[in-house]
Every structure is written in structure tokens, then in C-alpha cells.
């Protein structure tokens, strides 16, 4: 349970326990992917995005797209904790007829900006939202969270080149660089490294951070707040798949595996959520 005054580390630990519980109860996979980006979501939703849970559709809101839709439970837990929707929606996650599915449907719940799940769509959509902000002279910012495996998709790089050509300073990409994709090391499947250099070559301002260090994430995001930016910003966040639970960390079996009751209890204990 999150209490007011909890620091970001504590909030992230609570949300990690939450998504492990969701996976256990709904018997849904992709737990490792949710845990790797949890700190990035907490940094965005508690310390960066200008959003109002009471007025989720406000036209001036900052936009956030979770392009790696398979980490949806992490987003759902985040949005629920930030007050976008009531607890019962989260409790029904993954059940027949529930609003929240394994990967989000359009308009499934307040705060879910886009239905993702097929990789390589979110960045283009985010570019469109950012350009619309420019055309309509709104000052909102657009943030898109990609997975490293997702960077296999050519459409990601189409969008990257186009955003740079458009000098889209209101657009920020976070890459959850956990070094794994579904069935292998991301370095071995595609020549992803040097990933930061790729974004540099594509014309993006870029930073490399420890994706589990809130001070480093915050420092990179500060750059996105500078006015009159004329380059989109890429933050390459080095993360650990399954982060926060010793027996899940960097073990790609947790891309698909579902925790049993003992594993759930052990994970909650490690996270300080008995």
C-alpha cells in the first residue's frame, strides 16, 4: 500500500508487488518486462508528466504512450495508484469482460493514451500527437516508452528520422534497455549496440541513464523541460529485466513464466510488502 510521503523507491516497490500479484492472479505473462520499466513509470507519473487524474482527457495534458504494450500491468498499476481509476478495475484485470486486458484496448480506462501490443506503433503515434500540439499551439509534451526489442521494428526508425527532421523538441523517448527480448539477448538477435549512438546518428539529443536510479532519470528528464528545444530527446535507460526480485532479475524465463503462490509471497517479502 502506497502512503502519502512515500519516496519514489518505496512507491516503485509497492507497484512491483502489485504487478506480480496481477500476474499471479490473472495468470498473465510478461512480468519481467513490467518490472524492468517500473521505475521509469514512477519517475514519469510522480515527477514529470503534467496530468490531472480527475480530468484525464484534458486537451492540454502531457501525452504518455506505453509502446511496449506487453508491460500494460505496470501502466495499470501506476494509473490506479495515481488515481486515474478505482481499485476494482485493477482487481478485475485479465478476467472475461474486464476493462483491463493483458494489453490495453482503445479507451479501456482513463489515462491509457493508446492501445498498444503490436510493437513499433507507439512512436509514430506520439510523433503525430506532438506535431498536433505544434499545429494547435499547445505546450504539452509527449513521452513514448519503447522496449529494446521493439527497436527491431523498422517503423521505430522511420519515426525517429521523421521526428528529427521536424525538430520535435516536445517529444521524448525512453528506451527500457533490459538487454532481453522474448527469446534471446537483444544484442544477439539484432545488432542493437551501440544503441545511444544510433539515436545520436538519427538526430536526437540523447542521454544514457541507470533506469533504476531516480536521480539519473530525473536529471535526463530535466532536459525535456527546457524551452525552445529543437531536437527530440532519447533517454536510453539501462534496466534489468525482472528488477526488484532476486530470483527474477535477468532471468528471461520470466518473460512468460507466471509466479505461483510461494513465489508471489517470496517476491512480496523481498520488496518489503509482506
Amino acid at each position: 500500500m502506497i502512503h502519502s510521503g512515500d519516496n519514489l523507491e518505496r512507491i516503485a516497490a509497492e507497484l512491483r508487488a502489485e504487478v506480480i500479484g496481477l500476474s499471479h492472479r490473472a495468470k498473465t505473462p510478461h512480468l519481467g518486462s513490467s518490472l524492468s520499466c517500473m521505475d521509469l513509470l514512477v519517475a514519469l507519473y510522480w515527477d514529470f508528466l503534467r496530468i490531472d487524474p480527475e480530468n484525464a482527457g484534458d486537451s492540454g495534458r502531457d501525452r504518455f504512450i506505453l509502446s511496449k504494450g506487453h508491460a500494460a500491468p505496470a501502466l495499470y498499476a501506476t494509473l490506479c495508484a495515481r488515481g486515474f481509476f478505482p481499485r476494482n478495475l485493477l482487481d478485475e484485470y485479465g478476467q472475461d469482460g474486464a476493462a483491463l486486458a493483458e494489453q490495453p484496448a482503445p479507451g479501456c480506462a482513463p489515462g491509457v493514451e493508446w492501445a498498444t501490443g503490436s510493437l513499433g506503433h507507439g512512436l509514430s503515434v506520439g510523433v503525430g500527437m506532438a506535431l498536433a500540439g505544434r499545429i494547435k499551439q499547445r505546450d504539452y509534451r509527449t513521452v513514448v516508452l519503447l522496449s529494446d526489442g521493439e527497436c527491431n521494428e523498422g517503423s521505430v526508425w522511420e519515426a525517429a528520422m521523421f521526428a528529427a527532421a521536424q525538430k520535435l523538441g516536445s517529444l521524448t523517448v525512453l528506451v527500457d534497455y533490459n538487454k532481453w527480448q522474448a527469446t534471446g539477448r537483444s544484442e544477439q538477435v539484432m545488432a542493437l549496440a551501440p544503441l545511444r549512438d544510433k539515436w545520436e546518428a538519427f538526430g536526437w539529443e540523447n542521454y544514457e541513464v541507470d533506469g533504476h536510479d531516480f536521480a539519473e532519470i530525473r536529471a535526463a528528464l530535466t532536459c525535456a523541460e527546457l524551452p525552445d528545444r529543437n531536437k527530440p530527446l532519447a533517454i536510453i535507460a539501462h534496466t534489468i529485466k525482472g528488477r526488484g526480485v532476486s530470483f527474477m532479475e535477468d532471468d528471461n524465463n520470466w518473460h512468460y513464466r507466471i509466479p505461483n503462490a510461494e513465489e508471489l509471497a517470496a517476491a512480496r517479502k523481498e520488496l518489503g510488502c509482506p
Binding site: 482503445p106 493508446w114 506503433h121 509514430s124 503525430g128 506535431l131 499545429i135 523498422g154
Partner: protein, 306 residues
Amino acid sequence: MRNAFADEITTIAQEREDIVLLSGDIGNRLFDKFKEVAPGRFFNCGVAEANMIGVAAGMAASGLRPVCYTIASFLTYRVIEQIRLDLGYHHQRVILVGTGAGLSYASLGSTHHSVEDMGMLRLIPGLAVLAPGDEKELRPAFHAALDYPGPVYIRIGKKGEPVVHETEPKFAIGKALRLREGKEVWILALGNTLPLAMEAAGQLDNEGISCGVASMGSLKPLDTKLLGDVFTSAKVVATIEEHSVLGGLGTAVAEWLAANVTAAKAELVSFGTPDEFLHATTHQSSARAWAGLTAENITDRIAKSV
């Protein structure tokens, strides 16, 4: 037809600040006037069609009305998943204008033919598929697309097609346009085959066979009322399209006929491209001849059925 499109969208963009035009690096100089009247609302998205569709979806979700324009084959085949998910699943009001559709770019080879596009897009729930018969039909069709509460694909030819409509018709999505009435035969023409349908109908009339013609500018939704009328009144109903006999107008009408076969009395004859790639070097007229899309072949086959 493409010049009429450029002219129409330029006019509308002067009145509506939400109109945005995205091009896949084609239409050199075609949109100079648009860029002048709507600065900041023209985007050359480069040779990157998947991104163009996603960008348009994001714009539509933010209150703009984007129109994507490029060669029909690149606008559809390459990016079918972006169309299905970002436009269809999200029900975003984006208009896709595919130019040089069908066999318009026959001489450029099968890479540039789009004779399976409608078959693919017709399967996407909530997406309207339009194919106006000439430039006079295109203009009101574009307005109807702007009013449609979902994504729309408009399939147009290139330039210099014959104009059939004498005046601008009253176009409505889901309604065919009757150009001439007939008793024994009805030819249902899709898109740029409308002039061919009119020619064939004239020849049949000369042979004493009364032939009506309708422009099926709205393939989806289909004008089922018209189908009900012509299949219960005529002996032969023919469909003509620069599209495969699989998946397009002929198939859509056959699907309707299968469900309404007891009431129908007319025979269905479909004209379109065969289920094979065209490998030969051709121009549009010779490609049409290869597919049997000539007035002579159409009238012969219809006359035999009557």
C-alpha cells in the same frame, strides 16, 4: 483525378484549420498551393509509409483531420497493420487517398499495381472504402469522407481520366449513383472503370439490350438497396473494376447475392483482373485488355448471358 483532389483539399484547407495533408514523398508541385494557403499543415513524410499512418493517427487523436496521400499500392500493402490497428481499431478519422490505383500505373509493373487493395481494406471493421468514378464524383466523395465518423480509404486514378458525370453528383457513403437506367442488364462500375461501363452500355443499347449503369463509388458500405433493385429487375448484373476478381466489388456483390439468392433473379458476371501477377510490359489499355476489361469483351459476355 489527382489534380481535382489537390484542388479540393486546398479549397477546404482554407476554411478548416484542422485539415492536415501528409504525403509519402510524391505529388511534386501538386500541393504548392496547399502549402501556400495552409502553412505548417503539409508534411512530406518521406518514403516511410508506416510512420505516416501512425503520425496521422496521433494527429487525429489530437483533434486534427489528417489526409494521407501516396500511390495506392504503397499506401495499403506495406502498412496494412498500421491501418488495421492505428486507424481501424482506434477508429481514427483519417482519410487515405491512394492515387494511381488499379492499373493506372500499369507500365510501372506489378510493384505499382493495386488490384488487391480493396480486398484487404474491406476486411477492416469500420473503415469505409470509396472509389469515385471520375473527378466530378471525387469532390463530393471527399466531402462525404470528411463527414464520416471513422477512417476512409479513397481510391483514385491518376490524371486525365474521362469525365462522365455532367454535373457534380450528390454523393453519399453507402449509396451508388445511377447514371443511366436499364431493364435487362445493369453494369455496376467501380472507380475509373465508369467510362468503360458507359461505353459498354451504349454498345448493348445499340444491340437492342437495355442496359443501366451505376457508379459504385462506395464499395463499403455497399448500396444493398440498389443491389436489391437490380437483381430483382434485370437478367444480368455485371461488375467492372480495376481490381482482382477476388475481394473487390465482384466479391462484395457475390457475398450479398449468396445471402439473398432466393429473391434475386439476375445472373452475376464479374469483370476484373485474374488471380495472377501481370509480368508483361504493358500500358493501362493493354493491361485492361489482358484482364478482359474492354467494351468488346464485356458486351460479348453480357450479350451471351442475356
